[in-house]
């Protein structure tokens, strides 16, 4: 237009203001501020404060409740020499990897694959049951499995030893089963959706090439679903690693510290042994572990990362 018209209002020395490029408006701040204030006040400030508190001797009650001070690496030093902490790290990993990653992913994948080929009424019924377990408040799940793990509970009756108190003999296994029962629906939903995104013709093409079901599953379907599986694993890890309610309500971390995964250990240290500062340090270690796990998955599941895409 300018070239054709050569109209006088197009100054050569003035940079033209383009109408198609959106400009920053002041109201943008206004619109973002409610979420911003909420996140800064109740998310970022506490996070920053946590990083500070993790290096202090803050207590819930007692001399350091109000006049706490920066203690440098004392908490870290205590952590390194705290055998309960290390066993708690191990328990956390077992809980996250065993009940979260392995059990939930495998069960969720099995349900998704079976559901894809099952009769619609069976798929819908079983799907609803599994989802119901997930929608139940965590405390209700904790109560159910607390009862199941007791002596005389359903689980001990099923294995034929009704007098066994499974919550004291194999407590970690019981909380893992409870968590798998509760969390499988999430994997099932994500993985079914991912499965629906695998083009049917690709599977059909592989059939015509003579590939049987298992070969197609492992060579075609699962590799195509890799990004979904990875996303699912990261989401499960995030959800499981900070889980508190289920285990605490079932066992309070016991017997002994046998089920005290990091969030539970943090709570015990902070609110039962008064050590808020050390508790925060434990919470900080959770982030480190969660981050390491996520990096690990990404490495494992994306071997092509780094190659030209």
């Amino acid at each position: 237009m300018t070239a054709l018209g050569g109209s006088s209002d197009v100054g050569l020395d003035r940079p033209q203001r383009r109408a198609d490029k959106e400009r920053f408006k002041f109201t943008t701040f206004v619109w973002l501020s409610p979420a911003g204030i909420l996140l800064i006040a109740l998310f970022l400030v506490p996070t920053a404060y946590a990083i500070y508190l993790g290096f202090t001797n803050l207590q819930l009650l007692g001399p350091h409740a109000s006049s706490f001070s920066f203690t440098g690496l004392a908490n870290l030093d205590r952590m390194v020499h705290d055998s309960v902490f290390w066993s708690s790290v191990k328990l956390t990993l077992v809980f996250v990897i065993g009940s979260g990653i392995i059990a939930q992913t495998l069960l969720g994948m099995a349900l998704a694959l079976l559901g894809q080929r099952a009769h619609i009424s069976i798929r819908a019924t079983v799907g609803s049951i599994v989802i119901l377990a997930w929608v139940l408040p965590e405390i209700a799940v904790a109560f159910i499995w607390y009862a199941f793990g007791q002596s005389g509970g359903m689980l001990s009756e099923i294995i034929g030893k009704p007098s066994d108190d499974l919550l004291s003999t194999v407590p970690l296994l019981i909380v893992c089963v409870a968590n798998a029962w509760r969390g499988t629906a999430f994997s099932m939903l994500i993985l079914s959706a991912g499965l629906r995104n695998v083009p049917e013709e690709v599977d059909e093409a592989a059939q015509l090439e003579g590939a049987g079901y298992w070969r197609r599953l492992f060579r075609i379907t699962l590799p195509i679903m890799r990004p979904t599986i990875m996303t699912n694993m990261i989401l499960i890890t995030i959800g499981t690693i900070s889980d508190f309610t289920l285990i605490y309500a079932m066992t309070q971390g016991g017997p002994g510290n046998e089920t005290a995964i990091l969030p539970v250990y943090m709570y015990i240290e902070a609110f039962q042994f008064n050590a808020l500062g050390y508790g925060t340090a434990i919470a900080l270690s959770l982030i480190v572990i969660g981050g390491l796990l996520s990096i690990f998955y990404i490495r494992q599941l994306k071997p092509e990362l780094g190659k030209a895409s």
Binding site: E201, V202, Q207, L208
Partner: protein, 366 residues
């Protein structure tokens, strides 16, 4: 290499009232290039999927190479298929895509490499072997899919609208290429398309389906010249055949058909059909090239006055849409015919190929 036979094949889907494919009898000769064509929903893809084994016939028999296939899994049918959207394995390189089937069949490594090199050279995709499908253009993906099918060394090829995702120029080129490949490897081929041009240009024989039923099985020429009903006549040919309501009456000298403002004495092959008829409603069909500007050379031919509505000069010829009363007709006239909208013209109908259909059933009468 195999002959394909369908006997009374019917496919019913749950919750559907009408059959997707109804009582289909079909024989595809060894090495034949058969095109199944029809509008969407006519059952052509279902037919192909029953051949491949992805659908099981509700009734009837599917035989490939003399063997009944109803109970044979797709993986054991030894067929190759090219899908509409190619269905390449997205996570594998082109080379792995090509190698997949041979690995499944435990072909020795050395010959896998050699065969892939040969086929890649023939299809001119040698430089693409290291790439993934997402990095290929539509035409390149098409070639890879073809290569994968060829490497299968199947008893028969199944192609499901393989060209529909390509642009017009590439489609024309691939039509020729597919024919060339078929000449080189004369494997029984069933090719499904909704495009009548593909059907006419590529097929040894064409199957035209509609509403789950076979309408006609014939060579392209036969399909064009001798359609069994009005549907076939109007599906094949572009621009479409002109169909006018008409009426056959007897006057003193014999049967006469009247349509538009014209009337024409039926003789020869046409006449015999109507000897015993007193009055009958018919549909009269003329292909666009059978309508031309009146010359007066043959006073027997019916002539109609029409008003030109639209002129479409295509370069080599001109398509003219003209109106006669309530009816509109299309005719193919020579290039630079000098007409423009609003002109009144006299049009002459070449009755040599005139087609008469029963108005109610659409069945061709003569």
């Amino acid at each position: 290499m195999a002959k394909i036979v369908l006997q009374g094949v019917t496919k019913l889907f749950k919750g559907k009232n009408s059959a997707a494919v109804y009582d289909l009898d079909l024989e595809v000769e060894d090495g034949e290039f058969l095109v199944v064509v029809g509008p969407s929903g006519c059952g052509k893809t279902t037919t192909l999927r029953m051949l491949a084994g992805f659908e099981t016939p509700s009734r009837g028999v599917v035989q490939i190479g003399g063997k009944t296939m109803n109970d044979v899994m797709p993986k054991d049918r030894n067929l190759a298929m090219v899908f509409q959207n190619y269905a390449l394995f997205p996570h594998m390189t082109v080379e792995k895509n090509l190698a997949f089937g041979m690995k499944v069949r435990r072909t020795p490594k050395a010959s896998i490499g050699r065969e892939i090199r040969e086929i890649a050279e023939m299809l001119e995709i040698s430089e693409l072997l290291g790439r993934k499908p997402a990095e290929l253009s539509g035409g390149e993906r098409q070639r890879v899919a073809l290569g994968r099918a060829l490497l299968r060394r199947p008893q028969a090829f199944l192609l499901d609208e393989p060209l529909s995702n390509l642009d017009a120029a590439l489609r024309a080129q691939m039509r020729i290429e597919l024919k060339r490949i078929h000449a080189q490897y004369p494997v029984t081929t069933v090719y499904v398309t909704h495009d009548q041009v593909e059907a006419m240009t590529m097929a040894d024989r064409v199957v035209l389906m509609q509403g789950g039923r076979l309408q006609q099985l014939a060579t392209p020429e036969m399909l064009y010249d001798q359609p069994v009903n009005a549907f076939v006549a109007s599906f094949v040919g572009s621009p479409k055949i002109n169909l006018f309501p008409g009426r056959v009456v007897q006057d003193g000298s014999g049967p006469k058909v009247s349509f538009l403002t014209a009337s024409y004495a039926l003789n020869g092959s046409h006449g015999a059909t109507f000897d015993a008829v007193s009055t009958r409603e018919v549909t009269v069909g003329f292909r666009p090239e059978e309508i031309r500007l009146a010359t007066g050379n043959d006073p027997e031919l019916p002539v109609v006055k029409a008003t030109v509505e639209l002129v479409e000069p295509l370069g080599s010829e001109t398509h003219v849409v003209a109106r006669v009363g309530e009816l509109v007709l299309t005719c193919k006239l020579p290039a630079r015919c000098g007409l423009s909208a609003g002109d009144t013209v006299s049009l002459e109908f070449d009755t040599a190929q005139m087609k008469l259909f029963d108005t109610e059933s659409g069945i061709r009468l003569g």
